[in-house]
Symmetry: C2
Subunit: 284 residues, 2 copies
């Protein structure tokens, strides 16, 4: 696109948590693969909105005609890291009719009476849809590990179950995009203070946030282990530096674009005779 | 707003299907209450997006803190009338996190095994959410009437059941906004031809559309009766002339804005001590 600064290296490569990945080595202030500044990033985000919406419409049409492809974006992050902004500014550019968003909270009693993937399975996107998980089954190997709500053996069972589950999704035509938004501890402090300093943001602040913040290192370790265990070829993790919100948004947008482009979507072939229908409409 | 052409009469008044309402007297090309042109309307739509998103965020925050208010937008219309455009261009301006969209299709076997409001009840918006129904329980008094799938007595039962149902919603804090998008028969013909002339829109065309189109007058009558029976004080119908898409969008946007403003939302009062939390965050 003329006049727009694009990525030099695609986020699907630049941000992938592959073999030997080191979370501690990722600078939350960095902008991997992108040399532009904030204004460039915002221009890129706007410029790609239309392309994202077009591809999503093709996916939706595909689903309407019996196709089984779909996309599932999984967002994980600590409080204040910007999941909400991704939903609002990246996902929000797509037609609401083609998006299925689920925000997973603490499980209900009914959900707790089932295995951890039970509630996840129920919220999987329908054919032709872009599903978005704001938190996910990964909570069961993150917060559960940090608070020792699951022991080592159970955690191992869950990592393996997640890999089987996601492999099935991929085999059945779901492009799974796993994103961890990575902010620094100092950035979280600044954002928590920002919520306290703006009465319009008080409702976003929870007194429980500080208890989780106190476990910062344990969460980093839990994420590192989760990447090691569950960043697979069919469903790799991407760690998105997110101190710069504008960067996180264009990075996730690119990951979604790549997932949709990888589905190789075509407009459905209709079975009716266009000319004959045209004549019928004219007469109607 | 400086430089923006606003409504001279609010759509909640100008478009209400009140006592003595005559559907046949509504010109689908008209722009009741609005003297601006297309460019003015588009500017107004953009100018009000932010206000709509702000109010929706307040509603969401309200729901997070135990409030029970919510909004339910019910969209009814014939094929091609522009429901999808309302969802994409008006609803799409709100944060996906605060919107619950349901597109009702032909009922499943399980749904048919229940009374017609069973599947509707399940999709009602949660507290703090803006629910949007793309088609609704009104199908059960529209298409069912046109095709005589329900007899006169059963239709009467349904009108009454709908009024009871919606009155309960209103009493419980739901602002119900009922919209019928009204296009002319010629406009539908033009839009059907448009779908046939653009390969990227073929998937939106269904050979069944013409069978429903053949019942045009019966549908107009079914709508007229539905308005007479179910346009209540707590949940009135609004008939939106929709030959001009830009007008339909600003009209529905205004109806949503009014519904949200009528909820008299405030940012929730938090229970924690802001200064004390601030000190804790600084130390963390």
């Amino acid at each position: 696109m003329a006049g727009v600064v694009e990525f030099k290296q695609h986020p699907s490569e630049a941000l992938k948590a592959g073999a030997g990945f080191d979370l501690a080595g990722v600078d939350p202030d960095s902008t991997p693969g992108y040399t532009g500044k904030k204004a460039d990033g915002q221009a890129l985000l706007d410029a790609q909105d239309t392309r994202l919406a077009e591809l999503q419409e093709k996916l939706f049409a595909h689903g309407k005609f019996g196709g089984t492809k779909r996309v599932l974006l999984i967002l994980q992050a600590t409080d204040t890291a910007g999941k909400g902004g991704i939903v609002s500014h990246v996902v929000g550019a797509m037609d609401p009719q083609g998006v299925q968003l689920t925000a997973f909270k603490a499980p209900t009693d009914e959900e707790k009476a089932h295995d951890f993937l039970w509630r996840i399975e129920k919220e999987l996107p329908r054919a032709g849809m872009v599903g978005v998980f704001d938190r996910s089954h990964y909570e069961d190997v993150l917060i559960h590990r940090v608070h020792a709500w699951a022991d080592a053996e159970e955690l191992e069972r869950r990592y393996a179950a997640i890999n089987d589950f996601e492999a099935r999704l991929a085999e059945q035509g779901t492009s799974v995009v796993k994103v961890m938004l990575h902010i620094s501890r100092d950035e979280q402090k600044a954002r928590l203070l920002d919520r306290l300093d703006d009465p319009g943001k008080h409702w976003k602040y929870s007194t429980g946030d500080l208890a989780e913040r106190a476990q910062w290192e344990a969460y980093q370790e839990a994420y590192a282990v989760a990447f090691e265990k569950t960043s697979t070829a069919s469903a790799p993790w991407h760690v998105v530096p997110a101190n710069k919100k504008w960067y996180a948004r264009i990075a996730v947008q690119q990951l979604l674009l790549e997932a949709l482009e990888g589905l190789d979507l075509q407009w459905p072939k209709v079975e009716f005779d266009v000319a004959a229908e045209r004549a019928l409409v004219l007469k109607s």
